[in-house]
């Protein structure tokens, strides 16, 4: 039993940072990311404690984290706070694009955002993303292409609203 607990602890410690980063990328805010990461690590630990022969894989951990984020969004749909303090303070500098990127990401649907996170932040292949999202690689490629286009449109609209001069120059 002690071995089992040690194994679960090892797995959870090994994945804690990655889970937290992924949750942060998906929800966009530290407090909610902590809640989602904690829920996710709890599920990972509990599964490992109940299944001694189980070895977690990256894809499985990402899937658990994504489910925890989705559960959280379902429970508290209004509690989305996508901008952290660093971004809010960056708003005073019109040259900083990070705020525009953050705003554009919040305007995307959960489906679009998560496929972008898995592909661009975690650098997974389309096959790996397909495994996490439980869809076909073709569906991933289609979803990725659409998400990219939507992000670009929302991002450019946002930067033009923030910087009218840029629009006039064009």
């Amino acid at each position: 039993m002690a071995d089992l607990a040690n194994a679960a602890e090892t797995w959870v410690e090994q994945y804690a940072d990655r889970v937290f980063r992924l949750a942060h990328a998906l929800v966009g805010e530290r407090t909610r990311a902590e809640d989602a990461a904690q829920e996710s690590l709890y599920n990972i630990a509990r599964w490992c404690l109940n299944h001694p022969e189980f070895t977690p894989t990256d894809a499985w951990v990402y899937q658990v984290t994504r489910n925890a984020v989705r559960d959280q969004a379902r429970r508290w749909p209004q509690a989305t706070v996508p901008l952290d303090e660093g971004l809010a303070s960056a708003a005073v500098d019109p040259g900083v694009e990070r705020l525009d990127v953050a705003r554009a990401l919040t305007a995307l649907s959960d489906h679009d955002r998560e496929v972008l996170v898995f592909f661009y932040f975690l650098d997974l292949t389309t096959e790996e993303v397909a495994q996490v999202l439980k869809i076909s690689p073709t569906a991933v490629r289609i979803r990725l292409s659409r998400a990219r286009k939507r992000f670009k449109v929302v991002f450019e609209r946002g930067t033009e609203e923030q910087n009218p001069e840029r629009r006039r120059r064009r």
Binding site: R75, A91, F121
Partner: protein, 391 residues
């Protein structure tokens, strides 16, 4: 100027990798997850054949069973809520059983601990609370029908006095930080995005501050100076512009100015009104001597509601709430109600001590926040109250 690259791939990669690559999980996250997991017991695993069957049951008859069980659990086993002190009436909890069933699964969420400093509602469906305990300014929320609170944001720094206000989708938070420095945040979308609101430089040395919105955006800021005078600032595209004001004296504690220019303010315990956007103020007769504290019970029983301005003063102070044509006011230890036939005393408030805010979500469901940080909830229009356990 050279136009920057707008390739979404590069933008997203640099955004995420720049922000998150160095991020580490908080040290206690692993401990909390492991502790909960060790106490959770064995895990149920669905078989491939059992899953659709279980879903069908859950979707139909199962939902009814879960609903009945959740209702039973809520009415017999209050969980996060329990009856208050001995003089408080017996709890009668009627909030959504479905909400309770949903949140019952959340075993590892942070709890709603610490004293509440401010309380507000953004729409009829969402409640907001600010806690300043443990050196942080935490914003919590819950749908009115849900049972559990959820922490949505932690603002930087510490704060003591807090004022939280919502007008439709617009909300603002004023905090008196260490060293007498006022800071403010605002939201335009029902609390989804909060941005820092810059204040005039004199806010660093002000003894009091109050904000008022016009058309859904913070538009007026009243700052009380150490010499007792009040400065009024109007928000414009160029920042805050100071307005010369006449006819108002004493520390200004609350202000509300409408787009039409009509407004009300509380200063030095008296009610003032303006017709011209806050430049000239006149005090309303008979509006003084309104002490909205919960006094000790025997003398309070003999206190009548003093004058016609009671509702306006109470609403300005956050001690009045009007829903469905029924105005309620927390006054001198009692809950008062005003309908067509005038004032009627509903009953005693659930605790003694000053009241910070009174908020009714529906005609029957309401919350009272005491300055001590305790929240009580009623589901029968104020006849009985139940305490939220915050400790």
């Amino acid at each position: 100027m050279k136009e920057e690259s707008r390739d979404p791939e590069q933008l997203l990669k640099s955004y995420w990798h720049g922000r998150l690559d160095s991020l580490e999980a908080p040290p206690d996250l692993v401990d909390r997850a492991l502790t909960h997991a060790r106490h959770a017991g064995p895990m149920h695993v669905e078989s491939r054949f059992g899953r659709p069957f279980k879903r069908a049951i859950t979707g139909l008859a199962g939902m009814a069973v879960v609903g009945v069980l959740a209702f039973w659990a809520v009415s017999h086993h209050h969980g996060g809520i329990s009856a208050s002190s001995a003089n408080a009436p017996r709890a009668q909890y009627h909030e959504s059983a479905a909400g309770a069933a949903k949140t019952a699964k959340v075993k590892s969420s942070p709890s709603f601990t610490g004293a509440v400093a401010a309380f507000s509602k953004s729409t009829s469906k969402t409640l907001w609370a600010v806690k300043t305990a443990s050196g942080q300014i935490q914003l919590w929320t819950k749908p009115a029908s849900a049972r559990h609170w959820h922490r949505v944001k932690t603002f930087p720094g510490t704060g003591s006095q807090v004022d939280l206000g919502f007008s439709g989708k617009t909300g603002w938070l004023l905090v008196l930080g260490a060293g007498g420095h006022w800071r403010a945040w605002t939201t335009q979308d029902s609390g989804k995005i909060w941005g820092a609101l810059s204040l005039p430089a004199v806010a660093k040395s002000s003894t009091g501050a109050a904000l008022s919105d016009v058309g859904g955006a913070p538009a007026y800021l009243a700052l009380s100076r150490p010499d007792g005078r009040t400065a009024l600032y109007r928000k414009s595209n160029d920042g805050w512009i100071r307005e010369a004001i006449q006819g108002i004296s004493g520390t200004l504690s609350a202000i509300r100015i409408k787009a039409s220019g009509h407004g009300e303010a509380l200063a030095g315990g008296a009610l003032y009104q303006t017709q011209d956007g806050g430049r000239r103020w006149s005090m309303l007769a008979g509006s003084t001597a309104m002490a909205y504290t919960s006094a000790n019970t025997k003398s309070a029983a003999a206190v009548p509601m003093p004058d016609a301005n009671a509702r306006r003063i109470a609403n300005l102070q956050g001690l009045g709430s009007r829903v469905g044509g029924v105005q309620r006011v927390a006054y001198h230890g009692f809950l008062w109600q005003h309908q067509r036939h005038g004032w009627q005393r509903i009953g005693r408030l659930p605790a003694q001590g000053p009241v910070r805010s009174l908020t009714f979500v529906t005609v029957d469901n309401g919350y009272v926040l005491f300055k001590s940080g305790m929240i009580y909830v009623t589901h029968d229009g104020g006849a009985s109250w139940v305490r939220y356990h915050n400790e």
